[in-house]
């Protein structure tokens, strides 16, 4: 009997090819998107299974307070002073290891490479069991040994048989290859595509960093950087809560009040969360959104099926009547129609799986991922999804049609056509509500992105060439002569050294106060170390006072405490209570000395304001405008910004390169345009809006396909009516209007739901940005108009065709 049902189902699909194609293709698209979203979400949230004790590995990060205002809510790292304290307090802990990423110039014979090196505590190899192909983990105890991944060894030496081979860091420090391990798979948090700093290919012990950089980390409470994780291996019988309790008590005990203003909590997280922590950090539920959007697209596809199948089922009342007269029970008919929708769902699923097989390799290649489908594992899920989709989509039409009375169904075909009208309208409305909702959000995202792009042009994005890696100690002595030589290059207008360039997502702050001797931090100020040419290189306008000059001894801050002349921005002046830009000139403020640090910003300085610059969003993107201080100092020069004349750009660039190679031949030049600095941080937002646009486009096209099918079907069902109306004198346009109007009502009311919902959702999204678009409502309305317009267009496609047919054809239809 079941076989018979399937046979009838397939025949029916063949007979109504047009509608069947819409149904199968629609469901297949919905399933593809849904399964893909599940697959991708699962991929991103199930990293690091190659480490056998993954479930015992945790890392500790910090959560910032709201008032910290640094553009992220949390981070995957904690200060390096924390690790040893945890280790000392909790003897049960099986292992604890900190990791710090530092970039060095690695030299092998004559080849130079900039390489991010992961410096780790010795326990690191106890936590992460690497697959050694040469040497073993014990070399981690040797301060001059490094451990390389297979690909790193091949990069530097061309082969992996390299135990004992020498390499040099920054031309100064000789290291020996102590071990080589097999490359870690792409689906490890170490290779996360989201945070590029954390690659596990070049490992060195902490003791090496201590020797090389004279870097003491035991009492280091000042620095927190993405990727510098502190890992803990906890005992099998313990859980996250156990670790969290210990972490909490360390927070209470060891963090001083100023830092508690800034850091709300230390948070122990399982390793499995490491890969997606960036989403948490920026406070956007990306993974959840992807899952939700996938589900919405599938729902839209199901609604398509339900709608079209319900409409279509009325043309089969005669078949139902016959089957009932020959003794079929209502339940048997229900089963028959459900088998039909299940058959459709299974067909769609097959297509979807084939589509995914095609998409995945392409996706992996484009984004450097290793997503795979494990059929054995997913088969039950696939079957369940097909079953659910078949049942959900087919339930209503099956229920409707099986309920038909045999007498009615045999006698009068047409009386039933009007049935289910409200249901259909509701479903169309629901679909359009979902797709215009997505469309509206996408448009808000695009406009907001456009706004961010636009406001980033306050800085001459394409006229500034940024040279990086100038913080390398070995180049420092040559900075002045480099600048001198660069200024001689034709096309170079300005050269300026600084600790940070616009759009660098880095917050270096220190606490300040307008009162001398004040101990409680009133506010923090973001510092950028600059030289005398920074403001002019970046077109930062002075509102009052003067810029830095070599002619004033106090302009430059040195290691000696005392009075320093400084330039701040308007916000800083206002928050310090120094008044307007003009009023602030000549006034003084102070830093707050901290007890637990000997860093120079905690020496006592009197900051005397000599200039106030316009408020500009130096960090750009979603950040708020912060109090800023531009300090003239020789320290922390990590970038040189070269302002260029963009005519003859290639010539200028090669001259710059030549100049660099003349002055600093031992370190390769690393350069990028300010444009690229912006794009690097902007790409997450771009990727997000692209993804969402994709979902929205698919959702909207599915809804439109469904509407097209339904419109075609309803026009067919109303053929007789159309004929009568035409015989009675209706013009083609009047008939078309009639058909279009039928679908306009649900589409219009769907906007009443979707636009407020989109308003709500995009307000949440815009809350993420300091500099928001002020045209939210017009943008939403435009999205609504686009929704209606495309619906009309789709329905018109068919309506005008039907309306133009000679009336007698419509009447002869029966």
């Amino acid at each position: 009997m079941l076989l018979g049902y399937i046979k009838v189902a397939l025949r029916n699909l063949l007979k109504h090819r047009f509608y069947a194609a819409i149904n199968v293709v629609g469901l297949a698209i919905g399933l593809t998107v849904f399964l893909l979203s599940l697959l991708l979400a699962r991929y991103e949230t199930n990293h690091d299974y190659m480490f056998e004790n993954r479930d015992q590995i945790y890392f500790v990060g910090v959560e910032f307070t709201k008032s910290a205002d640094i553009g992220v809510q949390s981070i995957d790292a904690v200060q390096s002073a924390f690790g040893p304290l945890l280790r000392a307090q909790e003897p049960e802990l099986e292992a604890l290891a900190r990791s710090i990423n530092r970039e060095y110039l690695v030299t092998v014979e004559v080849d130079n490479y900039y390489q991010s090196i992961k410096f780790v505590d010795t326990d690191f190899t106890k936590i992460f069991h690497l697959d050694y192909i040469a040497g073993d983990a014990s070399v981690i105890h040797n301060p001059t040994s490094v451990i390389l991944s297979r690909s790193a060894a091949e990069k530097y030496f061309g082969h992996t048989d390299v135990l004992g081979a020498q390499l040099e860091l920054d031309h100064e420090h000789s290291m020996t290859v102590g071990a080589v391990f097999e490359d870690i798979g792409k689906d490890s948090h170490f290779n996360s595509a989201l945070i590029d700093d954390s690659q596990l290919e070049f490992i060195a012990p902490f003791s090496a960093l201590k020797q090389i950089a004279d870097y003491s980390m035991e009492g280091e409470w000042n620095n927190i950087s993405f990727g510098n994780r502190t890992y803990a291996l906890i005992p099998k019988q313990c859980d996250q809560q156990w670790l969290q309790q210990r972490v909490d008590s360390l927070y209470e005990e060891h963090l001083n009040p100023e830092r508690k203003d800034f850091i709300q909590k230390f948070r122990a997280r399982p390793l499995i969360e490491a890969n997606t922590i960036l989403f948490d950090a920026i406070g956007m539920p990306i993974i959840e959104s992807v899952r939700l959007l996938g589900l919405m697209v599938l729902l839209i596809a199901c609604v398509n099926y339900t709608n079209l199948a319900t409409a279509q089922s009325f043309s089969r009342t005669r078949e139902v009547g016959l089957r009932k007269s020959f003794g079929a029970s209502r339940n048997q008919l229900l089963v028959q129609f459900l088998v039909e929708s299940l058959t459709t769902a299974v067909l769609a699923l097959l297509i979807a799986v084939a589509a995914i097989e095609l998409i995945i390799p392409w996706y992996n290649q484009a984004l450097d991922k290793a997503v795979q489908i494990y059929y054995l594992e997913t088969l039950p899920l696939l079957m369940l999804v097909a079953l659910m989709v078949g049942l959900i989509a087919g339930a209503y039409p099956a229920y409707q049609i099986a309920g038909v009375k045999p007498v009615d169904s045999l006698k009068n075909n047409n009386a039933l056509v009007s049935g289910g009208g409200y249901f259909r309208s509701t479903m169309i409305g629901l679909q359009f509500a979902m797709s215009t909702f997505m469309l509206a959000i996408v448009m808000v995202m695009l406009f907001q992105g456009e706004k961010m792009q636009k406001s980033s042009y306050i800085y001459p994005r394409d006229e500034v060439l940024v040279l990086d890696r100038l913080d390398i100690e070995g180049t420092r002595a040559r900075h002045e002569s480099l600048k001198e030589q660069l200024l001689k290059v034709k096309g170079v207008k300005e050269v300026s050294y600084s600790s940070q360039v616009p759009f660098d997502q880095s917050n270096s702050t220190f606490p300040i106060t307008p009162l001398r001797g004040d101990k409680s931090a009133e506010m923090s100020i973001n510092q950028v170390r600059v030289d005398t040419d920074f403001l002019s290189a970046y077109n930062i306008p002075l509102l009052a006072g003067r810029g830095y000059s070599l002619n004033y001894a106090n302009d430059k801050r040195t290691d000696e405490p005392g009075q320093v002349n400084v330039i701040i921005n308007e916000t800083a002046a206002a928050r310090l209570g120094l008044g307007s830009a003009q009023q602030a000139i000549g006034k003084t403020f102070y830093n707050i000395q901290s007890s637990d640090s000997d860093q120079d910003e905690f020496k006592q300085y009197d900051y005397s304001v000599i200039g106030v610059v316009e408020d500009q969003n130096f960090l750009g993107l979603h950040n708020t405008i912060k109090p800023m201080i531009f300090l003239f100092s020789d320290d922390w020069r990590s970038h040189a910004s070269i302002r260029l004349d963009t005519a003859n750009l290639n010539e200028t660039l090669s001259s710059i390169e030549k100049t660099w190679n003349d002055v600093i031949p031992d370190y390769p030049l690393q350069r990028r345009f300010l444009d690229e600095v912006f794009e690097e941080t902007y790409q997450i937002i771009r990727a997000m809006s692209m993804t969402l646009s994709g979902f929205a486009a698919i959702a909207l096209s599915l809804a439109l396909i469904g509407l097209f099918g339904l419109a075609a079907f309803m026009a067919e069902r109303r053929t007789k009516e159309i004929g009568i109306r035409k015989v009675l004198g209706a013009k083609a346009s009047q008939v078309a209007y009639l058909l279009i109007w039928q679908f306009s009502i649900p589409v219009v009311w769907s906007l009443l739901v979707s636009i407020p919902a989109a308003y709500f959702a995009s307000s949440i999204y815009l809350g993420f940005f300091a500099d928001k678009i002020d045209t939210l409502i017009p943008v939403l309305l435009v999205a609504g108009v686009i929704g209606i317009a495309t619906a009309w267009m789709i329905v018109s496609l068919h309506a005008f065709k039907v309306a133009r047919l000679p009336p007698i054809r419509s009447l002869r239809y029966e």
């Binding site: 056509v417 009516e721 009568i724 009675l728 209706a730 083609a732």
Partner: protein, 227 residues
Amino acid sequence: MIKLQELSKIYRTDDIETVALDAVNIEIETGEFVAIMGPSGCGKSSLLNVIGMLDVANSGQYIFNGNDISTQSENQLSELRKRNIGFVFQSFNLIDELSVRENIELALLYHNIPAAERKQRVAAVMDKIGIAHRAGHRPSQLSGGQQQRVAVARAVVGEQSIILADEPTGNLDSRQGQEVMEMLRALNDEGKTIIMVTHSASHADYAKRTINLFDGRVVVENLRAVS
């Protein structure tokens, strides 16, 4: 008022060509009551459809009130049709979703007539055909004879001067059929031109003239003295 000259209508499917009307010449004057008879498939309905401008001929000329139909645009045709011609079909062709009143009103909907006047005229015509007590009912709640009376009412409510009836009694029993024929005769007496396709010789007797078709050709035309 209606003049067909050498008019032909051919239906083509992929491999069959059917000649429905073969060089037909017919003239019908205002106020006539014409019955078109002939065996199934002889082209009766095709002739009616062409006269009613529901379908176009392949060759020959159709002059309606001095207008050459072949030169009219689609919108002009629909204008001519709605001003002049009312239709009555064998299968009534009422819209099931609309009430009796709305079905009749539909014929006025495309005439740019104000709602109040539409209402009046629909009420008047319903009274005239004795269906007023069923005004709010759906077509499916009426008997066949009643449905056909509604269809006739719909055909004349726009004050069209011609009624084209395609086997108006075909789906009715003899008593109901007779009622409908009486209505048509009464309308003819008021001056309406009536052209009717029928199988029934007795109903053809209501007409003043009978045109017999066979294989798409006019074979006999006989004028009858009105009894």
